[in-house]
Amino acid sequence: MNPPPDDAPTATPPAVELSGIWKRFPGVVANAGANLTVRTGTVHAVLGENGAGKSTLMNVLSGVYRPDEGEVRIDGVVHHFRSPSDALAAGVGMVHQEFRLVPSFTVAENVVLGAAERIVRRQAVESAVGELAERFGLATEPDRPVWQLSMGERQRVEILKALWRDARILILDEPTAVLTPGEADELGRILRHMADDDRTVVFISHKLHEVTGFCDEATVLRGGETVAASLPVSETDSSALAGLMVGSSPVISERPPPVVAGGPKLEVVGLGCLDDRGLQALHGVDLTVRAGEIVGIAGVAGNGQRELAQAIAGLRPTTAGTVHMDGMDLTAATPRQRFGAGLAYIPEDRMGVGLAPRLSVTDNAILRTYPTHRRGPFLDYEAAVAHCQDLVERFAVRTGPLDQPIAGLSGGNLQRLLVGRELSGRPRVVVAAQPTRGLDVQGVKAIQDLLVAERGAGVAILLISEDLDELLTLTDRLLVMHGGRVVAEFDPELAVRHEIGEAMVGHVPTSSASA
């Protein structure tokens, strides 16, 4: 891991050269002298944990932010971008994590939006976009409206937008976060194709197997600084990269020791429900979670996982099937009755469902138990504050005054408060939906440890996650959902990543349909 020989005179200057980039926000230093050098015609990975400063650095490169200090060189020329369009003029295009597409417009219309002549001749534009797509192997239908497209297709439209504007340097911010494993592989092929065309790709990720799969070089950021610059991927492996990303702490929690699972605690039989658009989201889901067991649900977002969690928690009406806890029928029970019966629910949407953003820390701490903190019609705020204080201490929530709105808390502390509140009710079943998403390493570890501790205490846990590593590490059994059904079950210790991926897109290998 020697520092790269910067300022070494080369025949062709690197496509991108960021040196000594500092960017400060109130209370946060996002980039502290970060460097990045990307050679022309390569796919370059930028790695780092959440909060490592990847997105900020890319926003500097793409003209969204202006650095406080430091220099941006494109093809050897110093640039001072004042806006993303300045960057685009220099050939730098960015594909953001959240797509910026007009759903009712067609693919072609979205691609040329803002970069077309005044009069758009539909057919000419469609065929031009089609040609461009074909040249880079981006399978797409230019005349389809965007709302009909899958996430993978939408991403291809975003890439086309950048190519249409003649971006020679393409930045992709966590492009595979929304893709199925198959789509991610396809994206890898497309990016290689572009690199062969002498374009340069900067690829932000924290999924190591993708980096080793189709990137040439990798730069690792930690705490806003570059800890490893332009490592040739062929000379390193994922565990070395992982070590760089997180420093001394282990990448992922250790596999908890096996516990002998007890009797069934949560039994879901033939569950059906509708999604927000009124379409059938679940088609007869059966699952059982036993005491002292973590059952994982893997799947590409939008295959019924969200609806399953809500239906079990009583927040979504069911159209078929039953939910039993400890033999008690909860199918028609209210959310409060379910909580009273020992069902804790950690919802996917922390701020909008699990917490009330405008209320104080104390008010949020008693969200589930306020009916017990009463003195006549009044809430017993002394007891409430004591309860809140207890939660804050036991679950190490870092918070300001307890009477201030929770909106000021960081994501990790919000989740600790929420999880702590749910677990303080001594649940027998925990339904956890994406409990670690968006948290930093410490936050992830804290939440995972809490779940494992509950499992050790004989609680039945249903863990829904999009992080396959997390599922493979924490769960005792792993179910895969596709199209509103449980399509496969794996033993996480024996499972093959590739087969899980296949099951996630609905290709169920008959041999491992039930491991």
Partner: protein
Amino acid sequence: MRRPVLARRDRVLRGGQPLAFGVGLVVALVVGVFLLVGSGHDPLRVYARMFDASLGDPQAWSVTLNRAVPLGLAGLAVAVAGSMGLWNIGAEGQIMAGAIGAAWVARIGGGWPGPVLVTAMLAAAVVGGGLLALGPAIARARIGVNEIITTLMLNEVAIRLVQWLVHGRWKDPDSHNFPLAPMLPDNGRLPTLFERAHVGVVLAGIVIALFGLAVSRTAWGYELRVAGSSGATARYAGISLKRKVLTVMVLSGGVAGFAGGVELSGNADRITEGLSNGFGFAGIIVAALALMRPSGVAAVALFFGAVQIGGQSIQTMGVSSSVSTILQALILFGAIAAGVLGRYRIQMVAGDTVERPSTGAES
């Protein structure tokens, strides 16, 4: 090139709202100097008159307090709905509906003892206001009809209803064919507190205090605030939104109706279509200035009342009513604008884009 943007403060300034009123008042009075000089008046004399007429002596206080009563109750009505995230834009109509209820009781209860009649009138006013809000409440709770539209439209209905009564069934036979309802019976009037202030001042204070306590300290109020923060969170906590929406909207209407009853029996001779005179709409401003907190509306209403009374008083000095109205508006604008600075601070940023720290984490 740097330009200012508003950035949310991590913590709302303590005492920020009273401070805002002070700052707003000063700014408006300074700007008002130009307005008054431009229209040929001596600003100092005008301002002295405004103060004397609104807060200068007990008599002025009594007039200001009387004005603060309907403003405060209307503001309370809006704030009670607002703490659940509902917008009751129909306080104006509900005030009229309340007045109709009270006036109807006064017609049939002319012979009752004073305290009985007044109590019955106020109770009828609450029912009247609540009834007018019942339709929007049911529509909102059952099928999610936007309450802003329905409550707003019912304002017209209530005002026309008063016109119809005054021109028709309730027209005073002794009014020489003028469209006027008969005078209230003397036993239907609220007793006087001091000078011109009526007992409604005390009643309004009690009602505002009760609601303030209910919203901030009771389990019922807690549920209201959770629902106001996020409906999905309320469902998660097991709070029945339908029932809550229904009771809160009807209560909000009842409070506005109460304002109509108090205004009729405390301040007016008879029911007229001009009885409310915009109190319902002013209530929205009062509630907004009180940050939708029921406990804050009393102070805001007093401030607002003083501004109105002071503003009206200078018309007798020859200041035109438009100048007086502009002056009132300036003071309120100043207070609202300064209030924003209690929650946001001004930050100078470079470039065209609004920058936020990107943590990579979604919240």
